[in-house]
Amino acid sequence: MRSADYMRLAATSLKFNKMRSFLTALGITVGIAAVVLLTSLGGGVQQYMLGQFTQFGAHIIAVNPGKTSTIGLSGAIISNVRPLTLDDAASLEQLNGVLTAVPIVQGNLPVETGNRSRWTMVLGVNHQAPQTWQFKIAQGQFLPDEPAEQARNLSVIGHKIKTELFPDTNPLGKRIRIGQERYRVIGVMEEKGQILGIDLDDAVYIPAHRGMALFNRESLMEVDILYRAGWNEDKLVKAIKKHLIRRHGAEDFTINTQSDMLGTLGSILNILTAVVAGLGSISLVVGGVGIFTIMSIAVNERIREIGLLRALGASRTQVTLMFLLEATFLSGLGGIAGMLTGLGVAWLLHAFIPALPVNVEWNYVLLAEVIAIFTGIIAGLLPARRAAALPPVDALRSE
């Protein structure tokens, strides 16, 4: 029998019981729509998180003092017996492929001007920070390139600090007090928003050397290295390691690359998406039970017809295929409808709540379709085989 004829026969019997076919397919539709929608949301979260991470640019290697500790915080935040110095940072800049090396110290301090005061994040960095982190200056300029130890008391303020401390005036050239020291404002950063819960606009940038003095620290917390795009990251990591071991005599630092972090984050989020897809597929299983039930009923109702088909010379295989195809049709149609519904709802969600990240995971969509069709085959197999195995004489006689 030709495959087009199988399909036509299946379509005829599905059309004959429209409501029943619709409801059966609807079961699968709901399951597939759930999987497509949930994985789209999962994918959206994933893309959002990765986007947050790569906002600083993808070609950054971070060096922290101390080996990574068991508490999961790097040595930057807690104390360490082995410091990472401004000289270390400066020397890293000499390595091949390195564009910038930004020394970082960071802390929380009250920043005051006149009668206004605000606790904020103070970052000690150098002039290369905007290039490294892809930040833009809204007003004035960033910290100048001057010898680290002779850095003057200059500061660049974040957008929020400007609105909080200088709501009506131009902050350029004004003095602010950080800790016990006075700094001149020479620039304002462009608004950047929150990244991973840290408000980057609520920050003040000062020279790293001054920051270390302010926080009374002899070690930097981190050095961020920007390397040339296309440069081999693994090789560079090795070069940095070798260079610092030569300077320190031991490996008393930790190197984190952007790709390591993205990799870890990516795999966690992948698992999350898979779990969510798994939860959605519970509905798919129930939908499969639905197809099984309805196909069993259909076989029962059509016993006489099966007998006739056998009398007309249909083989068992042909009868099996006819019923199997009906089940597969149902699940396939349900799957496509589910996919469209899922995509539609995802699209609508995104249209109405733009903040909600949505990213369609086509892998999962395809997988869901395949599973839907497979569900149909599995659920249809038993009833179809039962239909084929009926003795034709009995089937013809059945009421």
Partner: protein, 401 residues
Amino acid sequence: MRILDTLNFSQTTLRAYPARTALILLAMAIGVASVIILTSLGEGARNYVTGQFRSLGTHLLFILPGRSETTGGLPPLLGTSPRDLTIDDAIALKQSPAIRHVAPLLLGNAPVSHASREREVTVLGSSNEMQVIMTLEVIMGKFLPAENPRIGSPVCVLGDKLYHELFGNRNPIGEWVRIGSYRYRVIGVLGDKERAFGFDNSDAVIIPVASAQTMFNKTSLFRILVKASSADALDRAKEDVLRIIRQRHEGEDDVTVIRQDALIGTFDEILKILTWVVAGIAAISLIVAGILIMNVMLVSVSQRRAEIGLLKALGASTREVLQLFLSEALILSLAGGVIGLGIGFVGAQALQVWLPDFPVQVPLWSIIAALLVTLITGLAFGLIPARQAARLDPVIALAGK
């Protein structure tokens, strides 16, 4: 028709099609069981996490140096501030009658070595009272001595893992280890279940805080841990902490005080929402099961036209036919729900066996919610077929075809 008779009649028709009935029950049961199992997992996670926090005792305060005005974000875990949080600050907190225990905490990283073995671990500088506050268990020797925290004696307490790495199974008490460039005598070993807040104390060493200050050449503390005299005293303790620190820091509010129960509350809330979401996703399958009930009931109505016609001819009212079919749908959904509950309970028990540390528990609300949803599902999806049955014209119905 009496309710009991209605139910009985429905029951006989359901029994007439055992395979069909069994499949619907299966579909319903899968949905309910997954809701039950997933909520019990979520509830287990919640109990586990809050239990971890509570194991420290419930009336703790954490004092962090520095402050941030960005609200809604994380507390300022990172960075330092200009005015240090010092040992003297910690000692001063003891003035408050609302505060029972105070432990300064200084955190660092240093290599620890004994004989030829070396390991880079977390170094916790603290005081005797840390044991009470963090409810640490010492399995060998004793904890840091109760001494003036400004004086650091060269003694240390090893975490379980560090102990095994350095000493194997030998008795370490009285032995000397080198931490950084100083020598310390081992006076105690912690039990192997000491972790909370993500501090894994098993790969760490605890030394007196003053020794840690010397080692890291640093006076500023990482945290001060405070245990209030009672849960009721927590608010007073927090006020006192802020007042005392303000006095000592020239009128500046430059610390952040976090109540432990606030942290618990946050985690509790997050995990509760997570459990609801997961249960909600699983509950989608109940809708699918409902669709199946409706579908099969519709089939059943069209197959039983003659029977419905007969019932009407015998004097059954439209309402009675409606009730008859509705009760069939209800029996199906509720029986499926009850079977699902059973499977869910067994599944939760199995999980408990598999994850012995995890307090898997079927929450009461999920049982009630699951049964309620199955009931509603049965009613909602049974209604259309039941109405179809009730509206059948007896003459046409009896004529068959």
